[in-house]
Symmetry: C2
Subunit: 279 residues, 2 copies
Amino acid sequence: MGLLGSSVTLAILRSSRGIKAVGYSHRDQTRQKARKIGVADVIADDPAECVAQADVVILATPICTFETIFEQIAPELKDGAIITDVGSTKSMPHKWAANKLGKNVHYVGSHPIAGSEHSGLEFARDDLFSGSRCILTKNARTDSSAIETLKDFWKLVGCSVSVMTPAEHDKIFATVSHVPHITAAALVNASRDDHVKYSGKGFIDTTRVSSGPENVWSDILMTNPANIARGIDRVIKELTKFRDAITSDSQTKIEKLLQNARMKRAKLIEYKMRNKELI
Amino acid sequence: MGLLGSSVTLAILRSSRGIKAVGYSHRDQTRQKARKIGVADVIADDPAECVAQADVVILATPICTFETIFEQIAPELKDGAIITDVGSTKSMPHKWAANKLGKNVHYVGSHPIAGSEHSGLEFARDDLFSGSRCILTKNARTDSSAIETLKDFWKLVGCSVSVMTPAEHDKIFATVSHVPHITAAALVNASRDDHVKYSGKGFIDTTRVSSGPENVWSDILMTNPANIARGIDRVIKELTKFRDAITSDSQTKIEKLLQNARMKRAKLIEYKMRNKELI
């Protein structure tokens, strides 16, 4: 029942299509707060009670907890239940699901591209997913009707849905999310406190994502190491091109590198505007 | 009469303290547009006419044009005139001013920490400087009453003012602005078009500054090479720490690097909120 979990249940309540939303948190304090705010129809007191009658189970915990949770809930699940999650890497969750969940249930990965640098149910919103994209991940064994059900579900809460393999997903999101997160953190770590107080909006925006919770992000980085290492190498290569152009005083090279970035980003913004993904 | 120049004259018009604002652009089309929109009291048709009666002259062109402009306007300036600029590096402008401007006028560097990734007078705003910091730069020979006049001026248009040497300025802004700009551009250049279309708000924000105009930014990078090269090296070092921690599967190290960034940035945001520099 953090930012994402509570936003999922709030979005379900808002959709009012007769779906009963049951929430669970391992923290007693969070369960009490969730009941008080009313972020779900029911807040269960243990995971077994939470999942026992569920048609769809959505994990919204740090990724490295999934393996244990799969093992813990497996005996409680209904035949035909669909298990998914909202985590930012997908290869490891698919592996854990294959090993720990029974053949009587269906795992599909979900990654709604929504959230913020904040965490906790205080920041949950019933419209967090409106206008967002949600990636579903499947492998050769994934049940196709489970995919269709989850497509309908994420569309119901406002997402447009894409489907790909976990390997494709993890490659793409290393580039567009995990490495940018590391770059933001590296920029902050490379700067002195007495210098950053002079920063403008540029530094603030460039580093925003590094304010995200480290327990969630360390799990993301731990479960996608090869793609991230390659991504860091690519960024270092591009930084080195700038360094070389600047120290050799080559205006032509500097302008070309800057222009390439500006034009690529302009194309991206245009695409996002056309698809109404920027609000 | 671009984004910054036009915002300066609009801010002067708004302050209505009997200051006459005279603008000039070398582009005929820009002068016509500036007259039509009324961004200054007068739009002059040549630089000599623009500066002849000026008490304060503010250059708002790409930095590498300053040397030529100083040479061009020097014979036209009134005795005691104050010359400044709104450029993002300060050591080279101070050198050029010492070489090209007469002893009868005073140069002080100004760097208002305001602007955006947009350019052109269409984006000018009379409140662009409200709540911003403006850095004034001086060396041992800088006239102290000229500094006082410029302090008053930037405060009038809404800035809080700090004074430092050009060397200090260029060291600080390599860290908080020039290197983050390069990092943003490097992130974009390191990513594939068919991947970035899946990006969320994180990538968009982390790379925003790289949409800035390359002619303005190449001049900034060209005039601060040593500080920027050292800054890039620091960022590469921090990226390499992440790479090592991730490829050696060290959760403790990853969490520590992420936590360090999160806590440093939290301190920065707290400082900015306290000083009302974030709106």
